[in-house]
């Protein structure tokens, strides 16, 4: 009885999460992203690990955060004259492609969990 209920709940949860993820993320095209990413390479590096300190590292950053940032540059809500030029003509699909692409690259970005105590 208990097991059946639990199973039913799990199944329900599964359907819900599949449904929401289908809504949230349009299918990502990494091949298209690879081509578009050549525009970004000069500043952010081919793999998103910018070596010039004035440019942010994109490799390993959360994809949804990168997408949010690009939408803000495109809308002018983040006021940056350089990125405004590069985000201006990106479609929503381009943005989710590029964000998934750079997020999947290996990099050195970390959150601060467990980083506050000594070295």
């Amino acid at each position: 009885m208990m097991i059946n209920k639990t199973l039913a709940r799990l199944a329900l949860l599964g359907t819900v999460s599949i449904a929401t993820s289908a809504f949230a993320a349009p299918p990502v095209n990494l091949e298209a992203a690879k081509v578009l990413a050549q525009t970004c390479q000069a500043c952010h590096g081919a793999d998103g690990n910018s070596t010039a300190a004035i440019y942010p590292r994109l490799a390993g950053q959360y994809a949804d955060y990168l997408a949010r940032a690009l939408q803000e540059y495109r809308a002018g809500e983040r006021n940056n004259p350089i990125m405004a030029v590069y985000a201006e003509n990106l479609s929503d699909q381009d943005i989710s492609n590029l964000s998934a692409y750079f997020s999947a690259m290996p990099g050195q970005l970390v959150d601060l969990h467990g980083r506050m105590e000594g070295q």
Binding site: Y62, N80, P81, L112
Partner: protein, 158 residues
């Protein structure tokens, strides 16, 4: 403004013209400097034009060197102490911003100069996120430099 006619896009973009005055990035300053050097203003010969050009050049040079002079990095040990308040959001793996829903960014191991620029943009309103704006406004330039020094020294374990 004279710069507009003399410099090609994207050095002076439409957004810059429309937007509030903002601190120019180092890269933008260099670009303006270069284009001032290359493109003569209007018909030369008239003394006022030459004067304006020389003046602008001096100004551009001055602001560039100011940025260079500020290049000294902050103190990472100080930055570690000052970054405690940040862990509430940036220290919880997978933590999300609500409305709209997206992950709080990973900031450890990010590049120093970029971190300084990003925090300064929250401070002066170039970026709009409300809680990060509040964080930025409460920081001095020295706080920003210290925190950026601490954060940029962090790297993933491998």
């Amino acid at each position: 403004m004279r710069l507009r006619s003399a410099c090609p896009e994207p050095v002076v973009t439409s957004r810059m013209r429309k937007g509030k005055p903002q601190a120019l990035t180092f890269a933008t300053q260099i670009a303006i400097l270069l284009c001032l050097l290359q493109s003569p203003f209007q018909p030369a010969g008239s003394g006022t034009f030459e004067m304006t050009r020389a003046l602008l050049l001096v100004l551009a040079l001055f602001s560039t060197t100011t940025v260079l002079a500020q290049d000294a990095k902050g103190d990472p040990a100080e930055g570690r102490l000052k970054a405690y308040t940040c862990t509430g959001c940036h220290g919880i793996t997978g933590w999300k911003n609500a409305y709209p829903n997206y992950h709080v960014p990973r900031i450890g191991g990010q590049n120093y100069d970029y971190l300084v620029a990003a925090l300064t943009e929250y401070k002066n309103g170039g970026r709009k996120h409300p809680t990060m704006r509040a964080q930025g406004e409460s920081m001095s330039d020295a706080d920003i430099a210290d925190i950026a020094a601490f954060l940029s020294n962090l790297k993933s374990a491998e």
